[in-house]
């Protein structure tokens, strides 16, 4: 099949970008979307032009590197599918495809389709972990965890940190990402102890990084390649309100 591509080209963070038209010829329906871009890039290199820069690594839908916006949709048109797992059989011969980087204030463009998502790392660094040193922990079966809790924690823990949720949100919010981590850890007895502090720190970090707030659009859930649910945002909000109440009562106690 043959396709018309309009690809966002931008030399660096301080340059202006623009959409450039390319033709993708003789594309097999069994190719992945990134393999289609490989073919276009090989041709560009042969013509001594600079290939389209895009992040990618595992090409198995788990490392979270490859998020792009395809025809306006972060991670492309297929439900619960990363760009690397999207195959060309879902497009038609002669289609026009627009390919852009994730757009969000907190994710500045580095080059072409590559954006800087290090804000996510800083949200995790603010408290998205359980504070345990290596060694000196109890046997793994000492603390039992109800299967349902473990399964829901796993549902949340499946987040791959790709950033599609942020780009899909009209507010550029990172609530789904943060909520997934908060929920995963708050549901486990090991993570419960720090839950209050964690949710406050992570929420604050989110704000500092320039992410917006949740406006209940649910766009994040719609594009999430791992099917992370907005219910986790409700959980985040409950945790946060509970934490605020606890802090308030803590202050009163001190004042008294």
């Amino acid at each position: 099949m043959n396709l018309d591509l309009y690809v966002w080209r931008q030399n660096g963070p301080d340059n202006h970008g623009r959409l450039v038209r390319y033709e993708a010829r003789d594309i097999s329906p069994d190719m992945s979307f990134l393999e289609m871009l490989d073919v276009v890039n090989e041709q560009l290199i042969r013509n001594a032009e600079e290939p389209i820069a895009f992040d990618h690594d595992c090409r198995e839908g788990i490392c979270g590197s490859c998020a792009q916006v395809i025809n306006g949709v972060p991670q492309g048109p297929r439900e619960k599918t990363t760009v690397c797992q999207l195959h060309m059989r879902h497009f038609r011969d002669g289609d026009t495809i627009y390919i852009e980087p994730l757009r969000a204030r907190a994710f500045p463009v580095i080059k072409d389709l590559i954006v800087d998502r290090s804000a996510f790392d800083r949200i995790i660094q603010s408290g998205g972990f359980i504070s345990v040193h290596t060694g000196g922990v109890p046997d793994a079966n000492v603390v039992l965890i109800p299967k349902d809790d473990a399964e829901t924690a796993m549902d949340a823990a499946e987040c791959i940190g790709c950033g599609a949720c942020v780009a899909a949100c009209p507010n550029g919010s990172a609530m789904l990402f943060t909520a997934a981590k908060v929920t995963h850890l708050a549901l486990l007895p090991q993570g419960r102890i720090e839950a209050t502090r964690r949710v406050c720190m992570m929420t604050e970090a989110m704000r500092e990084e320039g992410f917006g707030s949740c406006g209940n659009h649910y766009e994040c859930q719609a594009v999430c390649p791992k099917g992370i649910k907005v219910q986790f945002i409700a959980k985040l909000n409950r945790e946060f309100i509970w934490a605020q109440a606890k802090q308030l009562s803590g202050k009163r106690e001190k004042a008294g």
């Binding site: 030399n11 042969r46 490392c63 797992q85 790392d121 290596t134 060694g135 079966n141 823990a157």
Partner: protein, 637 residues
């Protein structure tokens, strides 16, 4: 050079304790004076950096990905082994040790493997404490499943994403140390050389992948946790960025490269669909618990699998290996699949595929149970092939997956360059000639959480902190060498793309240094590879410049090293006159076709020393001594 594995004396079970007692410690007040450079943030790197940070060292952690959460360990699906014996099915530390040693075809160091088995239980405890959501039963206890090469269920798992969950656990621990200020992260940064001062590893040269800046980092010790080199085959299950450069640069600076020809070809991968294929996708080996492998009995049978009656199917693994059946180790399953396809029984495009059929398990357990166990794998299969594995069998074919070989290290994980430690897949130490499933995660975390924190202290205690600074002339010299190499690559301006060279390299390696090797083919590879390398340096085309983000340049540097590594692998495969594990020489096989080891002549680690670009590397041998097990034929029948 004599290779001293520095294995402690005494009974097997006491060796690690003894070593820990012999080793020097560093006081908490002094730890913060030492800087440790950790290259790579997969399981080994993240766990090492986090733990060293917790202990109070100053750690600089580097990764080429945009975030340390994306190391290739994240792709590991099936699970992690431990000798917990929770199911009460007869497991023990000794059994895990023996299975791993036997699985590796008795080509690994006994004491290392025993220590690995011993530490396995503490890893599970640690991960649970970090919040890794392992699978549990309805009473809240941890669940186990079985894996290839074992008859017990000792594998802990988190759906089909165990690697992801373990890595996110280690990444959490690492993030905690970043917050605490003990670890500094350097993402999108690639190590391009090792700096050796007065014979000891004292720093690295890195390239900032966004700006192209070349920078020197000095440290008191260097930990290489840079993963494996299966991408030398171009098509492999490794992430696209996985490369040998950091390890190969260390090899060129004097670290010995051990058993480079020991590569694992994984039996259950999705077959390639065309020439444009950029990588191969693994389907977790855990699928072999419930899937049955078969091919049509009739050669060239092109009927749909459902139309082939039971009597016309050959369940060849169950037929050839009745005791282990579909759960034989990876090397054996891979070879059996390739053989049967070479004979003309294969399914799918080019006859390169065998069926992995879940019909029996679906009948026995129901669709819900199968979905719970393997749901994400079935989804992934459907995304890639467009086929539904609940209603028709999967097609699978072997693909390069893991490198057992790597930089030579002693019992303390120290290479032949003092101060250079090598962890995880980047070292050669624990898996011999073949790795058992669910053992890579175990090794990466054992090295990072529990071994390196002890052994690196012993080295550091014998040095003065901050002895070498980055203004030492050696740093400038190395930095200039790196810049010159980059300029050389960019100045070729040839007509072939990096990927074209990589693909050609892959074909040579797969055909001649792949699953089956023989003398004639290996000699041919040793003729073809230098020619391809010469052509690369005359005809490669890399657009753009070195002073900005340039992904073709990154690839080119990696492929240049793969081209040299391929030659080393072929040389190693040629010299090893036996078949063992993943190294199968067709001249050396039993009458029934199985691998034929030569314990009298080949029971050693082959460690290669670089002696210059125009000279052959020198072979050193570390004899393998087995005090606690008898070398047995590896029989899974």
């Amino acid at each position: 050079m004599t290779l001293d594995g520095k294995v402690p004396a005494g009974p097997l079970a006491e060796k690690w304790d003894r070593r820990q007692h012999e080793m020097k410690l560093i006081s908490p007040a002094n730890k913060r004076k030492f800087t440790i450079l950790v290259v790579g943030t997969g399981l080994a790197g993240a766990s090492a950096a986090a733990t060293l940070g917790e202990l109070g060292y100053r750690v600089e952690a580097f990764c080429f990905q945009d975030s340390p959460r994306r190391g290739h360990s994240i792709e590991a699906q099936g699970g992690i082994n431990a000798a917990k014996n929770y199911p009460n099915d007869g497991d023990s530390i000794f059994r895990l040790f023996y299975d791993t040693l036997k699985g590796g075809d008795f080509r690994s160091r006994e004491a290392n493997v025993y220590r690995l088995a011993m530490l396995s239980n503490a890893i599970i405890d640690q991960c649970v404490a970090q919040g890794v959501p392992f699978a549990r039963d309805y009473a809240g206890y941890l669940e186990n499943r079985s894996f290839g090469g074992t008859q017990v269920s000792r594998t802990f798992y988190a759906r089909g994403q165990t690697g992801q969950q373990l890595l996110l656990g280690a990444y959490g621990a690492l993030s905690r140390q970043v917050r605490a200020g003990t670890v500094r992260l350097h993402p999108r940064t690639e190590m391009l050389d090792l700096v050796v001062v007065d014979g000891e590893a004292k720093g690295i040269i890195v390239r900032d992948l966004v700006t192209g800046h070349i920078t020197a980092f000095a440290g008191d010790a260097v930990c290489l946790c840079s993963g494996g080199y299966a991408n030398v085959y171009y098509l492999s299950t490794n992430a696209m960025g996985s490369n040998v450069t950091a390890a190969f640069r260390a090899y060129k600076k004097g670290a010995l490269f051990a058993n480079p020809c020991f590569i694992q070809i994984h039996p259950t991968c999705i077959p390639a669909s065309g020439d444009y294929q950029s990588k191969l996708t693994l389907m977790s080996e855990s699928l072999r618990n419930d899937g049955r492998v078969w091919v049509p009995k009739t050669k060239g049978d092109r009927r749909k699998p459902a139309d082939i009656p039971e009597g016309e199917r050959d369940y060849f693994l169950e037929r050839k290996y009745p005791e282990y059946g579909n759960l034989v180790p990876r090397d054996i399953a891979s070879r059996a699949a390739k053989e049967i396809c070479d004979e003309g029984h294969g399914a799918g495009p080019g006859g390169r595929g065998v069926y992995l059929d879940f019909a029996d398990a679906l009948g026995r357990l129901g669709k819900e149970k199968i979905r719970e166990r393997y749901g994400n794998l079935f989804e992934m299969y459907e995304k890639i092939t467009g086929e539904n594995a609940y209603s028709r069998p999967m097609r699978i074919y072997p693909a390069p997956h893991y490198s057992m070989g790597g930089l030579w290290v002693d019992y303390n994980l120290e290479s032949t360059i003092p101060g250079l430690f090598v962890l995880g897949e980047a070292n050669f130490s624990d898996h011999g000639a073949n790795r058992l499933g669910a053992s890579a995660l175990m090794q990466g975390l054992a090295d990072g959480y529990f071994i390196i924190p002890r052994t690196i202290a012993h080295y550091l205690a014998q040095t003065r902190p901050g002895m070498v600074k980055d203004d030492h002339p050696e740093f400038r010299k190395c930095g200039e060498e790196v810049s010159t190499r980059i300029r050389r690559l960019l100045s070729v301006k040839g007509r072939k793309t990096v990927t074209e060279f990589h693909r050609e390299l892959g074909i040579i390696m797969w055909d001649l240094v792949g699953m089956e090797r023989n003398e004639e083919g290996l000699r041919k590879a040793l003729r073809l590879l230098p020619e391809l390398r010469a052509e690369f340096w005359e005809n490669v085309s890399i657009p753009g410049s070195g002073s900005a983000l340039n992904q073709e340049l990154e690839k080119a540097g990696r492929v240049a090293d793969f081209l040299e590594l391929g030659e080393l692998m072929a040389r190693d495969a040629l010299h090893r006159n036996e078949s063992c594990g993943g190294h199968f020489r067709i001249e050396h096989r039993m009458p029934d076709g199985e691998a034929c080891r030569d314990d009298s002549a080949c029971c050693y680690v082959a460690a290669w020393q670089f002696r210059g670009d125009d000279r052959e590397p020198e072979l050193h041998k570390e004899p393998l001594v087995f005090e606690n097990v008898e070398l047995a034929e590896r029989n899974y029948k």
